[in-house]
Symmetry: C2
Subunit: 232 residues, 2 copies
């Protein structure tokens, strides 16, 4: 495998409901065939009109909103809820958050982030004439480890999980169970050039293994069924 | 923030107990001041003589080894144990694994991966005259999401967690709780150029925010105390 280049996409400006997000990103990013474009959830939620007015003095209204986005509550501590969303994601406050959103508003997750990724992929193809992969990223905490990292909540045109089972390691021994979640690794890599405070809504990952650039789905490949999960 | 470049380090060859790993890596990688070198656990464990002979027909011996590396067993399903290691990591089989190790042997995690990172950092300074950050990476599964990703188990000369609390988002609103685990994101980014089967033991991440290049520690910054953890 060769080198990877990770480039922040700057100059997009504030995105509003109904904006042509794919067009805006294609204009600002010099995308090449085979690039993966990682787009943060916040800007997707804004373009898809997923902002809801909830005042800072209305914690009860916010809690009801979080419960409405959830199918199950796993843990509760003070204001923090860890819930399972209707997508099957386990995260804090069902992904409802208020950073980089105007005062008095909160952003909900996209209804179907894989579909959001497909729309951006199709829109970039129409605007710039290139085939790319798209990952929608969000910032999740996790048990047992401090700090948040960016993970994939949707993807299109790039594998979510690459199955290396049946391939051999460097010593010729068969790898028994190595399914690598490349979509989460792409989201994490992109975060390193975006920061949380700088208002950069996307990053390009260039040089990705071409075999990963196939139909992909976070819902289909990453979300673990409760039966397979030892921690649910 | 600017662009990041991620470069695989090739041509290192098979590493054996007692090898000067920092010297080997410095010879193969053209390291620049401010680079972060991500080194996989397997090659560190080999250099530090953490391989143990356990035959493939001795699952009982392997299980005893895993329990010896663990302070607590969280879950058990068939051959798979999810345990807490003496480092405080929660992972499968206490990190004891047999990929990329010769038949009849397994590799244990380094005794103190932060110290391993410091040694490599000091060794690279001695061999190549450059100050770098070092992350030791390993491949962990996680609850609720399919697939494995690489995370940091040790670091030196680079922050494990960057605290953005008190900084402001793009709309001027204070970010309340955004501690980003950049060490895990660096490990994930590096994995994208290493693969599992290609025998590439390290990768360079070039272009990292210089403010992150400070004293760092996975044990001190990432390992979550049981009291702070909602899932223990």
């Amino acid at each position: 495998m060769g080198a990877l280049l990770i480039l922040p996409v700057t100059g997009v400006g504030e995105v509003r409901a109904g904006d042509d997000l794919a067009g805006l990103l294609a204009r600002q990013a010099e995308l090449l065939e085979g690039d993966v474009l990682v787009v943060t959830q916040k800007v997707v939620s804004k373009a898809e009109d997923r902002l809801v007015a909830v005042g800072p003095s209305d914690p009860e209204g916010r809690r009801r909103l979080i419960e409405g986005e959830s199918t199950r509550i796993l843990r509760r501590r003070d204001e923090l809820l860890i819930t399972e969303t209707h997508h099957g994601f386990v995260c804090a406050n069902a992904g409802v958050d208020l950073s980089n959103v105007e005062e008095g508003w909160v952003a909900l997750l996209p209804v179907d982030p894989d579909r959001s990724a497909r729309r951006i992929r199709d829109g970039v193809r129409a605007a710039a004439g290139v085939e790319i992969g798209v990952v929608i990223s969000d910032t999740f905490g996790r048990p047992w480890r401090q700090g948040v990292t960016d993970v994939a909540i949707g993807c299109a045109g790039v594998a979510a999980v690459v199955d290396l089972r049946g391939t051999r390691d460097a010593l010729g021994r068969e790898l028994v169970a190595t399914e690598v979640c490349v979509a989460d690794e792409l989201a994490a890599a992109a975060e390193l050039v975006m920061g949380k405070a700088s208002g950069i809504p996307a990053a390009i990952v260039r040089g990705v293994d071409p075999s990963w650039l196939r139909r992909g789905s976070v819902a289909g490949e990453i979300v673990r069924s409760p039966a397979e999960d030892l921690f649910r």
